[in-house]
Symmetry: C2
Subunit: 202 residues, 2 copies
């Protein structure tokens, strides 16, 4: 039965943080809904309000902004077992300046704001779980900001392949460049330079 339960991956995820009681599991079961997005489909589009939290079960989403000159800047990739949302829009009920779309066909689990509030009031343990989640997300985000402020493009790329080895060959160069904050051409040259210094033996 649990094998065909689409919410199972999320229960495992929560349970890994803080063990859940049965009634808490049932609450998750009741409040989260799964949804499929096709490649290139929007999960959230600029101007809309982010109405639900997204947990990625399978596939890969990206959170990004298009600037005035039309350039894409990726804030975050979300593959298996990652969350991706515009929290500012979600909690403030404000129009989002960001987009989320699918880089691959993707299965998500979603919860609306009202259901999340219900979750918090009916089972205060989720206040703690989401506090811990937020702490971890904050720490990762701060690491990323630090990288961006203090490192060269080359260091940022090296750091990227260390932290996300599973994404390097899964994403196109264009996506990775938009994440690193450089032009795709620069990433191409950068890789070329690295592969030469890495094995100086022809």
């Amino acid at each position: 039965m649990s094998q065909h339960n689409p919410v199972e991956p999320l229960l495992l995820y929560f349970n890994g943080l803080i063990p859940l009681k049965n009634e808490e599991k049932e609450l998750v079961q009741a409040k989260f809904h799964h949804r499929l997005y096709r490649k290139r489909q929007y999960v959230l589009q600029e101007g809309d309000v982010c109405t639900h939290l997204n947990f990625v079960v399978r596939g890969c989403l990206r959170l990004y902004k298009i600037d005035d000159r039309g350039n894409t800047h990726i804030l975050q990739f979300a593959a298996e077992n990652y969350w991706v949302n515009d929290l500012g829009s979600f909690h403030g009920l404000k129009a989002s300046q960001l987009n989320i779309d699918a880089l691959e066909d993707t299965v998500t689990l979603q919860i609306t704001r009202d259901d999340l509030v219900t979750l918090f009031t009916q089972a205060p343990k989720f206040d703690r779980i989401f506090r811990v989640l937020m702490e971890n997300s904050y720490i990762r985000l701060q690491q990323r900001l630090l990288q961006n402020i203090s490192s060269t493009a080359e260091d940022r790329y090296k750091s990227f392949i260390e932290i996300y080895p599973h994404l390097v060959n899964r994403l196109s160069q264009v996506q990775i460049a938009a994440f690193l904050g450089i032009a795709p051409e620069s990433l191409s040259r950068l890789r070329n330079g690295l592969s030469k210094t890495a094995k100086p033996k022809p």
Copy 2:
């Protein structure tokens, strides 16, 4: 009495987020301790573990990293009613790569990790309060990352004076430049350029 109570500003702060009961106020009273730092004094030094959370009552702290070439990169300023910590170090009990020090004589309220855990277990409301705090911090941090990835130095500076008008004249150009991620000379030129285009009338 409450006028001479050093924890009062924090009680007001928490109360503004979610109203506290008396026993919760007493818990805050018991677990937070105030401490004074003189200008230039370290609150946290690279290599040490971040052993307590810092809430600034008066004054101003900075959170920063020194890179390989000796350049300072400021992640965050914390003036009145702001928190500043290395959460990665605090929660992971790991040596910090960051520094925190005082830009002015500063009064803080601090809580240790053990006392914070006690706070959470004795009054679960604090799980919620800190969840909300973390959400707000995350949203601010994401805004900053976005700025950094997608904007020119000029736009970042304009945005800085909009978001932190009270800090612009309180901090030296060197500190602001280290926050924006540019050289102090560049900030000087940038300001010069702005003041010319702002009032083109001599």
